[in-house]
């Protein structure tokens, strides 16, 4: 008998850190000192706010550097930081820092943002709450995945993987450990959640599980 999967949801409260920056060098300084929950906020905000848009705008740092400072080259480099590669916030922070440091070595002349368009550092306070949905087998799991809120999807796919430093998403983890669905777990784990909407991600996961159930029933 496998351990039950409990579906949780997460709700965020945004806090302002009262720290604003107007050029790349100040952004770099901020990246070094703000809490990890701030790095998390600025790399995941668009996913939360714009999860209906595809393709998504990139992280906040890239958006501000490209669109406000109009430093297109470094903006592009920051947009290309492959968030899914990183298992820990501190590694993600290091990547942003080294990307900007490298750039500033070669391009010391900086642009300043207009007075009202500074970058404001913020962070999330995350509340994790149990939902009414649970699953003991693949069929129940499928039913629940179809019903849960996007916030719940978000929690099990993004929050668990990076912010809570679990290394993998919760779905793959449970499917592999409890149901021994190694193949299915691996395929879900490989889906890149950062380049599609949560809704289309849900559809893909539903489709993969349905295919697996069909194969089992044959």
């Amino acid at each position: 008998m496998s351990n039950t999967f409990h579906f949780y949801t997460r709700l965020n409260l945004t806090e302002l850190l009262g720290k604003k920056v107007k050029n790349l060098s100040e952004l770099l300084e901020g990246l070094k000192t703000v809490p990890g929950s701030s790095i998390y906020y600025h790399t995941h905000r668009f996913l939360q706010q714009h999860h209906f848009l595809s393709p998504e705008p990139p992280n906040d740092f890239a958006y501000w550097v490209s669109n406000i400072l109009q430093e297109e080259k470094i903006g592009e480099q920051l947009a290309a930081v492959d968030i899914i590669q990183f298992e820990k916030i501190r590694d993600l922070r290091k990547k942003f820092i080294s990307t900007i440091e490298e750039y500033l070595k070669r391009n010391p002349v900086m642009r300043e943002s207009p007075a009202v368009s500074e970058f404001h550092f913020m962070k999330s306070v995350t509340f994790i709450i149990p939902t009414q949905y649970t699953a003991n087998n693949l069929t129940e799991f499928l039913q629940a995945v179809k019903k849960i809120s996007i916030h719940s999807m978000y929690f099990h796919i993004f929050e668990a993987r990076l912010r809570l430093e679990k290394g993998d998403n919760d779905f793959s983890n449970w499917l592999e450990v409890e149901l021994k669905e190694t193949e299915l777990a691996k395929v879900i784990s490989k889906l890149d959640p950062y380049t599609q909407t949560l809704e289309s991600l849900r559809q893909k996961i539903v489709c993969l599980i349905e295919r697996r159930l069909d194969a089992q029933n044959k």
Binding site: L13, E15, L16, L17, L53, M122, K123, V125
Partner: protein, 407 residues
Amino acid sequence: MLKINDYVPIVGEDTIEELKILGDKLKGKIIQHINSTSVGGGVAEILNRMIPLMNELGVDTRWDLIKGGEKFFNITKKFHNALHGVPVEITDDEFDFFLLTENENAQAINFYGDVIFIHDPQPIGLVARKNDFDKRWIWRCHIDVSNPVESVWQFLKKFVEMYDIAVFSVPAFAKQLSIRQSLISPSIDPLSDKNRDLPQEVIDSVFEKYKIERNKPIITQISRYDFLKDPVGVIDAFKMVRKYVNCQLILAGNTATDDPEHDKVLNAAKERAADAPDIHFLVIDPSHNDIEINAFQRGSDIILQKSLREGFGLTVTEALWKKKPVIAGAVGGIPLQITHKYSGILTHTVEGTAYWLKQLLNSTEYAKRLGLNGHEHVKQNFLLTRHLREYFLMFLSLYYHEDIVHL
């Protein structure tokens, strides 16, 4: 009266379920709102809508008012203007009178709440009683304090820093403070007269009443006649567009009798429009206001909000909710609502506004997509239910200290 379940068809059962869970976690706590007026103004409007819903969700929420005479409110009006950056002279006598009135209120008010929720600067000094009880104190700033008169801000800052948390609507309004600061945007109520779906006949009848034929595309700006809403700039942009595209412009605003500049601005706009065809100036009676404004927004092809300065810009939220393509000034809270070219258009100049008006009038499919994206963005981020959720989370956050809280 509206019930929380009335919002299920709009935001989904999950969202309401989450609110019920949060309400449950706050059971037993009393939230005491305190401000200076129960009618008129944005704060009273939102509290009137929110408080019954909070109570229905199981959070005991009540509302008290401070007392102050004409002299007191004249002083706080000066504070308000000074926080907006308008140079004003406030004498020592006025600061003293403010403190005296705060002290009288602080002694007279019964602080029965577990969370004392103070709105705007008028009751800010009540926090002087903080050490008398074990309560949590919130200061909710509804105004733009990004560029205040420094002496007034420093005077108020002493009080602000006594609170447990300060809440701002827009990141740019945040200050360097020694306390926690939260970002909570205002919201619109999708079921209010200003925002609810309207039958086509109602929309048609409003246009008929004001004798506006809908035989060519309609561009509309809804806002009071105020220089900061730049009606003259709107007219200039419209004139540039009208040379190439056959369209019409509606400028609709309230009869704001308490604003001494209203007539001056309206006249300046009319003068600018004198020789141009297809410009309608509407002054709407406040008693019919909500439904008529709703109808104008719904019956328009493009909504403008060419503000030069803005608080949050809830007229933009209202227009996006109605799936309209919006072109707006990139000021105040507007960039939070519009991601340029995704969910609307942000502009900085008359020329830019004219350019994008032409683009959207000629690319109706693209304009439609902007409106749909804008609607979805408002649905996810700027409805009353999100506002309730964030207030509940903030109340809970007063009892935890971590960045990740397991409830």
